[in-house]
């Protein structure tokens, strides 16, 4: 059986506001899915819910990965099961270098501490040897064409939008997850940065990794080719198709989708006027 992420009937609210209203979606390992939708349709809420953000309450539905329930797990346990989220707005961690951060998270996922008989973690635990880790990091940085000096900077501190997204891709490359959710990894990037980040994604793609690419615009999909495209409107996946669906969206806008599925114009879009899809 192929490993799969199965989201079924997912209803999520933040505070008293209902955001996801019965979302169904399945992503298998080796597949690239694009999830497209206007602002406010619930894209980031889905990403955060998949990783267990404490502000989001799951009211109904299930999320399973490799047949195991994810919703009962803390974010770190989900990560240790191979699920990765590239943030739209990654956080800065002042005083922690990229190198130190990467080694810590690599160890957390690939060299978890083994408690001894008394339940205590051995004080001898050291994780991946430093030299071996540096080699891995340098290799992945070269793959993403990153300046080695990047490793000495503090995580996302004073980073440009493009640098933040590249660090997300570097983390993905080093952690090599089996299910990656990329939340608007294309947002805020100029065309060169977009190409660069897309190359990073393509370099990480493998038959062992499923990808859910969340995006507002079609342009990212010129560089990272999805096999499946879904449209998120008003907290639900209202339309699914192949790559051609993204081009139809680009040509016709989300109101075309609303017409097709019988939603009034503007529903599922926090901005009263739908945003253009392909003008940027």
């Amino acid at each position: 059986m192929t490993d799969e992420l199965v989201i079924s009937g997912l209803e999520v609210s933040i505070g008293s506001k209902k955001i996801l209203k019965g979302l169904d979606l399945t992503v298998r390992q080796g597949e690239v899915h694009a999830l497209m939708g206007p602002n406010g349709s619930g894209k980031t809420s889905l990403a955060y819910t998949l990783m267990g953000h404490p502000d989001y309450t799951v009211d109904a539905g299930t999320v399973s990965w490799r047949g195991q329930d994810l919703l009962g797990l803390t974010p770190d346990k989900r990560a240790q099961m191979g699920v990765f989220l590239a943030f739209q707005y990654p956080s800065a961690i002042p005083g922690v270098t990229v190198a130190s951060f990467l080694r810590n998270i690599y160890n957390a996922i690939h060299h978890p501490k083994q408690p001894d008989a008394s339940g205590e973690t051995s004080i001898k635990y050291t994780g991946i040897p430093l030299a071996k880790f540096r080699k891995l990091m340098e290799e992945k940085m070269a793959l993403l064409r990153m300046d080695p000096a990047f490793a000495t900077r503090y995580v996302n501190e004073g980073f440009s939008g493009g640098e933040k997204k590249r660090l997300e891709m570097l983390q993905m490359a080093i952690l090599s997850p089996s299910m990656a959710v990329l939340d608007e990894t294309d947002s805020g990037l100029d065309i060169d940065a977009l190409k660069n980040v897309a190359e990073g994604i393509n370099a990480s793609l493998s038959p062992d990794m499923g990808v859910l690419l969340i995006t507002h615009y079609q342009r990212m999909l010129n560089y990272v080719k999805p096999q499946f495209v879904h449209v998120l409107l008003d907290g639900r996946v209202v339309m699914s198709g192949g790559e051609e669906l993204s081009h139809q969206l680009e040509a016709n806008g989300y109101d075309w989708v609303r017409d097709q599925v019988g939603l009034p114009a503007g529903v599922g879009d926090e901005a009263s006027a739908p945003e253009p899809v392909a003008q940027h």
Binding site: G52, H53, P75, D76, I93, P94, T97, R103, T126
Partner: protein, 418 residues
């Protein structure tokens, strides 16, 4: 050699007996008596003073017996430094071996005004201490380390630390203070008198790891001479209550000071620090940075005065105090005060914050496989890095990191340098 006199019963006669017990020279007995008079003339704080509004002395263990048989200061003095004439020794030893030098420097200056009573009391009732003297032009490469080990928790102890760096000298000194946890409350009233002469370079770090019942009522005065550069670091880890008064006097034209502080407190610890950055000469620079991580019900207060003196020109100063609250019951109160009496200044600013870790940052780190505790530890260590990165001395940096780890906790793969 003991003196079981409670500190409350200190009087001129007891002060005289301290001198007699150690067979001290007359000049020193007289010095003690003069400072005892000062102590009686300078009443202890009432709590109405701006610097004392946040720490009550009601529960100060004034009845604790004076520790008169303190173990000698443990010291490490690099061999080449000793050959070059650098002195690092217990103050009692220094009185015997270098009387002229000690007489010249001991008890000649006033301490922080907020701690005037305790400064005087320590000069009258000290029964141990540190003496460090770096002769003119001598530059010490290694790290000098001195360690006060207080054997019992329930005593009163008022050591005096005297650090003199003569003109053109350079020295790095770590002073550690330790006492056992538990037991009855004790009173640690140690004071530091630090002087950097013209063009001297001084790095002076204090690592306080007193037991959890201790009261630390300390004072430190640092005088920075012309073109001298002084970095001080106060790492406050232990004690039940700490009330530290720190004055940095920019006394000579062109002097520079960095005033660093690291506080890691938990349980019901109260840490209260008042500082004065006294910009008293032209072209002086003084930058202060205090960081605290507060767990459980710990509370930190910081009252910092920057005083740019009338008529001074082209001074530059900053004070920054940041507090990380790691529990809903922890609290912090940073209060910066700028007293600018001069017109021609380069810079004078301040920043103060107190807040919890941003939940989004914590979530971000957790999504990378770190548990909530691991993520918090990493963020706290990163927070402290702003000061730790400024500690150029390897010995001091690793000692401070180890001491902080007692509170923050450790992850074994932390030590990755990029």
């Amino acid at each position: 050699m003991t003196l079981t006199q409670p500190s409350t019963a200190l009087d001129a006669e007891t002060i005289a007996r301290i001198g007699e017990l150690s067979d001290e020279p007359d000049w020193l007995c007289n010095l003690r008596q003069r400072w005892w008079e000062r102590a009686t003339q300078t009443p202890p704080p009432t709590g109405q003073e701006e610097e004392w509004r946040r720490t009550s002395l009601d529960a100060l263990p004034r009845d604790a017996s004076l520790l008169t048989d303190a173990p000698l200061l443990e010291t490490h003095l690099p061999a080449d430094a000793a050959e070059a004439g650098v002195i690092l020794t217990d103050l009692r030893t220094a009185v015997r071996e270098h009387p002229e030098l000690v007489a010249k420097h001991l008890g000649v200056s006033d301490g922080p005004a907020s701690h005037g009573h305790f400064w005087a009391l320590a000069h009258a009732a000290w029964t141990g201490g540190l003496f460090c003297h770096v002769p003119r032009g001598v530059s010490v490469d290694g790290t000098l380390v001195a360690r006060h080990v207080i054997p019992r928790s329930d005593v009163a102890y008022h050591p005096v630390s005297l650090v003199i760096a003569e003109e053109g000298s350079s020295v790095t000194l770590l002073e550690e203070i330790v006492s056992p946890d538990g037991g009855s409350a004790g009173w640690f009233g140690g004071i530091s008198d630090v002087r950097a002469g013209r063009d001297a370079r001084v790095r002076y770090a204090t690592l306080q790891q007193l037991g959890d019942a201790a009261w630390r009522i300390g004072a430190e005065r640092v005088v920075v001479g012309p073109d001298a550069t002084v970095t001080t670091l106060n790492a406050e880890i232990g004690s039940a209550v700490t009330k530290l008064g720190l004055d940095v006097v920019m006394d000579g034209k062109g002097g520079t000071s960095k005033v660093l502080g690291l506080l890691a407190a938990g349980d019901d610890q109260q840490i209260d620090i008042n500082t004065v950055q006294d910009l008293a000469a032209d072209h002086t620079t003084s930058d202060l940075l205090y960081l605290s991580a507060l767990y459980d019900r710990a509370h930190a207060s910081f009252y910092g005065i920057t005083n740019v003196r009338h008529g001074t020109r082209q001074t530059s100063s900053y004070q920054e105090c940041r507090n990380l609250l790691l529990s809903p019951q922890a609290g912090a109160e940073p209060i910066p005060v700028l007293e600018i009496e001069a017109n021609d200044i380069l810079r004078c600013g301040h920043g103060a914050t107190a807040g919890a870790i941003d939940p989004t940052t914590l979530f971000y780190a957790q999504t990378r496989g770190l548990s909530a505790d691991e993520a918090e530890r990493m963020i706290v260590r990163g927070f402290f890095e702003q000061v730790v990165a400024q500690i150029s001395d390897e010995t001091i940096r690793s000692r401070i990191i180890d001491a902080l780890a007692v509170r923050i906790g450790t992850d074994s793969s932390d030590e990755v340098a990029a």
